[in-house]
Symmetry: C3
Subunit: 153 residues, 3 copies
């Protein structure tokens, strides 16, 4: 068991099945030493988390959803290159399905950000953008994409 897998076990985290590619895009593209991870949706127990913050789902639900997006990013990286090649989480882009008066996108996005810090320590400290959007694919509550620096394979 590698260091990162031991750390996931220690945190009680289990990676989900990496969601299958859809159409003509793929979950991860490696260019140079950066991996670009497609926007990931939040699955908990195999079910997509849907809704809109500020119209029912609680802040905690939003944080859970962002955490689930983060876990799926890890699952995609594991499937594509192996998590042990992650040298740095460089950037997360968080899109939070939000009612017009919901402005706690940063707290929601922390669900993914805190996960990266928990798993990778300082290598998990990333740049981030978090914005509100009115609607996401399939009615998802949150979508998060990532840019990740890799160590040589």
């Amino acid at each position: 068991m590698t260091m990162i897998h031991a750390r996931l076990a220690e945190l009680g985290l289990t990676l989900p099945q990496a969601a299958a590619p859809v159409a003509s895009y793929v979950p991860v593209v490696v260019a140079g030493d950066l991996a670009y991870v497609s926007g990931q949706l939040p699955f908990i127990g195999g079910q997509l988390v849907t809704g809109r913050l500020g119209e029912g789902p609680t802040l905690d639900r939003g944080i859970e959803a962002a955490h689930a997006c983060g876990l799926m990013i890890l699952a995609q990286l594991e499937a594509a290159v192996g998590l042990d090649r992650v040298a740095r989480i460089v950037k997360l882009g968080a899109f939070v399905c939000s009612a017009p008066d919901f402005t706690d996108q940063p707290k929601v996005a922390n669900g993914a950000s805190d996960l990266m810090f928990s798993v990778f320590g300082d290598a998990g400290r990333h740049a981030r953008s978090a914005v509100g959007v009115p609607t996401l694919p399939l009615g998802a509550l949150v979508e998060v994409d990532a840019i990740v620096a890799l160590s040589p394979g």
Copy 2:
């Protein structure tokens, strides 16, 4: 005629005139071996495709618009570096002008994604984010930006 131009001809595709730069930004910036393409709007027959998915324009219209954004990305790459230098379409970012209950952003974005796969084959298979937004520049129906890996010039 180069391989990519032959492929475009075979597909019956004609690149539009590359849209002129606006203000202090430019259509393409090359950094290292990556080209960053600015968000492109959908022009068909020289006319901007406007509207909001879920409020009139059909899904097929959205797909057409995303395809047009993709063609404009190709036109900008052709003008800036030449399409034959495209080594890999790395990432597309698709912003789909959407009514709050429209959740088929992935199908719309396939209009651009499928184009890249048609033109470049495996080198056109990219990472992607697709999200809904309430409004886009000039009322555009879709906006797509891109990160593209280049071979040495």
Copy 3:
């Protein structure tokens, strides 16, 4: 005083205090020779500029806000790596809090784009995406993130 600081002084620009990191993300991550700057919010005189374009704030207020986001990007770069290492502003991503019928996101985003051109000249000419969003963190009027190429340190 370095060249860029002289240029800022000449333009009458003062960098704000770099906003403190929040949670498990950081303002700037350097990967290879690129700096990824987190989405920055508009502070003028230490106050966050809030609201929604098309529902009160004027276009000029939006442009001012985008300019303030740009200044904060510069402040973050200064704090993280020093502005003299900026080789090229590669890409700006502008998210403009917009009412559904507001479509002047490009004019708003020019507040940040024109700043980059003023400060860095041709090295400030960047790729850009500008989109409307219904709501932003803390009610901000605009959020802008950046990718910046650095010269060796």
